[in-house]
């Protein structure tokens, strides 16, 4: 009897009690929206009735280890591999009697997320010897919408001063469109340094663009043998006015101001070099 008197009101109240149950705090996300929920091994298309609430099965299968293809054919080509040779700067520079040529050429092969990326840069006296040359080889991996992580190595072919480095950095675009390349290096002797390059182009017409450019180097150690002091070693500011004849071929003229700092500047002056130089430049940007 007692059970009955408690039981009946409880039974009558139960819809009320259930209705007052607080709503769940966390809203379940769609099933396998990101494929992270744990799955039994070999999980494939179990015959399910639609689960209650917001849970739906969005994917018919979700453990495909290869792209969906029927009849042995992939319907589209979103993993197309491309190559590009990109001549960022190929220029003749002159500051008084000091004449030289400079190249900065990148080349890469790969897909959307991973690339084999080569960067080459160097200077050569007109009719003379190569003053400096470097080659960097990277694995480029897309880590953010606008950023690639670069991991690789660098080798300097400077006459009598060849050195190798491990290199790592980021290449990409900051907000407001600044093309940026920041790379840190550790040389074979254990010396650390980094380099930052920033470019941004402004269109004056559909074909005429102005590109300010900044490059700066920093060394963590004194390396007198290579004319490098610690701290900021130098800065290069450039301004290039480019005319795009085709997107693949754009000649330019401009100026480039270079300044060495601190011990680096002293070491270079001792060697007979200049602390500061202002070049008039003329060159071409190209790709194919």
């Amino acid at each position: 009897m007692k059970t009955f008197t408690i039981g009946v009101p409880l039974l009558l109240l139960s819809p009320l009690l259930l209705a007052q149950e607080p709503p769940p705090h966390t809203v379940p996300i769609q099933a396998s929206d990101n494929g992270t929920e744990p799955k039994p091994e070999g999980y494939r298309s179990p015959p399910l009735p639609p689960p209650p609430g917001k849970q739906i099965r969005k994917y018919a299968e979700d453990t495909l280890d290869r792209p969906q293809q029927n009849f042995g054919v992939i319907p589209i080509h979103d993993n197309h591999k491309f190559f590009q040779v990109l001549g960022k700067r190929l220029e003749y520079r002159r500051d008084g009697d000091n004449e030289n040529t400079l190249w900065e050429i990148d080349a890469w092969y790969g897909g959307d997320h991973n690339k084999l990326y080569l960067e080459s840069e160097g200077e050569r006296e007109v009719g003379g010897k190569t003053e400096s040359a470097r080659l960097e080889v990277f694995w480029n991996h897309a880590v953010r919408p606008y950023w690639d992580l670069q991991l690789g190595a660098r080798h300097d072919f400077n006459p009598g001063q060849s050195r190798s480095f491990l290199a790592a950095g980021f290449q990409g675009m900051t907000p407001y469109g600044f093309e940026t390349d920041l790379t840190g290096y550790v040389s074979e002797d254990g010396d650390g340094s980094w380099r930052l390059e920033i470019e941004r182009s402004f269109h004056f017409t559909q074909r005429l663009e102005l590109e300010p450019r900044l490059e700066t180097d920093f060394s963590f150690s004194d390396i007198p043998a290579y004319n490098i002091g610690d701290g900021f070693t130098g800065i290069e500011l450039g301004l290039r006015l480019r005319y795009m004849i085709t997107p693949k071929f754009a000649p330019y003229i401009g100026v480039s101001w270079e300044r060495k700092f601190g011990d680096t500047a002293d070491l270079i002056e001792e060697d007979g070099g200049d602390r500061e130089m202002t070049f008039a430049v003329a060159g071409v940007r190209f790709w194919f």
Binding site: Q30, E61, P75, I76, N79, P145, Y146, H203
Partner: protein, 598 residues
């Protein structure tokens, strides 16, 4: 050309001389192999096209792909033409017939060819997408398509193999209803709009992959900025532009491939070749306008004439009078015009980015033409246009946590637990590490009543999706069994186009639709561009505010930037079906998915 307009002289050229040497018989044969234009499209200044009345429905078609030289404006390009013409032959069926189509691939250098019957309800194996419905048609092989035609209206067909659509593998498809047309007219013309490039499509694809602005010659310049500063003031100009720059976007991301490289065609005719169709004053003329472009959305108008839109994507709608409409890639619009005077009218299709146009003439007699409208200026997108209105004037920092919470709460309030699936587009919570997603629209809007970027400021009526009310029977119940949301995402800088942040080859598997369920599918566009989203094998009924019995049928929906919309789908045929953006290079770059109906 302006000269010729002034003195009203017809355009004489090599075409006319060629036609003179051509036998009269060429006009009566369905297919001709010597001339790159199909007979249904063939005109000249001396010959007005009378309409497609003479092209009777047939139940058998023999179609073949050939590498065909195509001459346009004195330049010769390489086409992957169907039966030797661009566009291909007019295919006309009758509703209820069982049709047979033998398609042969005579292009030895291809992996495969294929024909997809765009918008046609067919059994799974007849849909013609290599890698989804069959393995393609290998060189030298013939594939037999055979199915019963269950619908009527204006459609088109095209290749679904790599980039063949760009090089001319498309044509019109007209189906006569078995019970008579739902409206009266005296004459009908097929108007196929397309974009032709003399550049090899693979080169084009590579160029825009490596340099997304390769063909853009309407970039914003420093002078545009200074003009805005003068007009709007320094603060306002910056408030509008700098948030775009902060996101590394341009207000002029309007299209990837422009009139710089494209010659826009109307029935295979360049603007100078001027396709001309006949009408007699007082007639009601039906124009079956089909956008067979690879990458170009068009704004269509006929200065001086009202247009009554009576059919959209092959399905009848209640007539809507308008002066201009935007036709997304792969859409079809049937309009009725009633010219009363014996004047020439220009049929003008301006590309969305204003970089060019296709044009033709409608005239009672040959040799007439009307002025060509001046191109309108390139529009700039506003932050509101891309669902980023809240970003206006924000130069640094992201959305505040309070703002995110508020948006999330708003979205949660729209949830209805009675229907499985998210009720309303769930806030898309992106993985910030995902290189495929350059932009996430936190507050997508309903934009069905908006005509779209660059339209609606000319003082005339522009059609919107909101205006469409179906005039077809509604066989489906109003209740919804299940809901699903698909986010349209992209990173144009890397030329990655994706759905839910995943390229096709990164998707964990096909989407699951259940056979004969009533599914509400939400689409949210998180990109800067319009995407014509196409679903194979079933209709999408666009929930545009019309009553349940009048929601319009669509096979392709042009979704605007920052837009969220929903469609109702009843998957009637089991099997795998393609769902993709119909901009060819977006599809090839990953904006493609397989839908499994099981």
């Amino acid at each position: 050309m302006a000269q010729q307009e002034e003195d009203g002289q017809p355009l004489f050229g090599t075409r006319r001389q060629f036609l003179r040497t051509l036998g009269a018989g060429v006009f009566s044969t369905g297919i001709n192999t010597t001339f790159p234009l199909a007979s249904w499209a063939l005109t000249s200044p001396k010959y007005l096209h009378g309409g497609i009345r003479d092209h009777q429905p047939q139940t058998y078609f023999d179609l073949a792909f050939h590498n065909t030289p195509l001459e346009i404006d004195g330049r010769t390009g390489n086409a992957t033409a169907i039966n030797g013409t661009v566009p291909g032959p007019l295919i006309r069926w009758r509703e209820g017939d069982t049709v047979t189509l033998d398609v042969t691939n005579n292009m030895p250098d291809t992996k495969h060819a294929s024909i997809h019957w765009h918008g046609i309800l067919v059994p799974f194996r007849m849909d013609g997408v290599p890698g989804v419905n069959f393995n393609g048609i290998q060189p030298g092989e013939t594939y037999r398509y055979q199915f019963r035609v269950k619908q009527a209206g204006t459609y088109w067909y095209h290749s679904h193999s790599f980039l063949q659509e760009q090089s001319g593998s498309y044509g019109p498809l007209v189906i006569d209803p078995k019970d008579g047309e739902p409206f009266l007219y005296d004459r009908d013309h097929v108007v196929v709009l397309s974009d032709w490039a003399f550049t090899n499509p693979e080169t084009l694809f590579r160029n825009i992959n490596l340099s997304p602005e390769y063909y853009i010659y309407y970039k914003r310049t420093v002078f545009d900025y200074l003009r805005d500063v003068r007009k709007m003031g320094f603060a306002d100009a910056n408030a509008e532009l700098l948030p775009f720059r902060r996101m590394n976007m341009s207000p002029r991301d309007l299209s990837n491939v422009t009139g710089y490289i494209y010659t826009y065609l109307m029935n295979g005719h360049s603007p100078d070749m001027n396709w001309s169709g006949k009408f007699l004053p007082g007639e009601t003329v039906r124009l079956r306008i089909i956008n067979s472009s690879s990458m170009s959305n068009f704004d269509v108008r006929i200065p001086g004439l009202d247009m009554d839109v009576v059919m959209v994507d092959g399905k009848a709608v209640k007539p809507v009078r308008c002066h201009e409409f935007r036709i997304g890639v792969a859409e079809t619009y049937d309009v009725l015009i009633r010219p009363r005077d014996a004047n020439a009218y220009t049929l003008y299709a301006e590309s969305l980015d204003r970089s060019g146009y296709a044009r033709g003439t409608l005239a009672p007699e040959s040799g007439m033409q009307a002025p060509i409208p001046a191109p309108r200026p390139v529009p700039d997108r506003k932050l509101e246009d891309i669902g980023m209105g809240m970003m206006k004037g924000k130069y640094f920092g992201g959305m505040s946590d309070a703002m995110k919470k508020k948006l999330h709460r708003k979205r949660m309030e729209m949830q209805d637990d009675s229907i499985p699936g998210p009720n309303g587009p769930m806030p898309f919570l992106p993985n910030k590490d995902n290189p495929n997603v350059a932009m996430v629209v936190m507050n997508p809007q309903n934009r069905l009543a908006e005509p779209g970027v660059g339209l609606g400021h000319d003082g005339w009526k522009v059609l919107t999706y909101k205006d469409l009310a179906s005039a077809e029977p509604q066989p489906y119940k109003p209740t919804v069994d299940r809901e699903m949301c698909i986010n349209i995402t992209a990173n144009m800088e890397r030329f990655i186009f994706s759905l839910d942040g995943k390229k096709f080859t990164e998707q964990p598997g096909p989407y699951l639709f259940r056979h004969n369920e009533r599914l509400r599918l939400f689409l949210v566009n998180h990109t800067m561009m319009e995407h014509p989203m196409h679903l194979h094998g079933m209709w999408m009924q666009l929930e545009n505010g019309a009553s349940h019995n009048e929601i319009p049928y669509k096979h392709t929906i042009l979704i605007k930037p920052g837009e969220a919309l929903s469609v109702l789908i009843t998957p009637i045929e089991k099997g795998d079906w393609a769902f993709h953006c119909h901009l060819l290079y977006h599809m090839e770059a990953g904006m493609f998915q397989v839908v499994r109906v099981a």
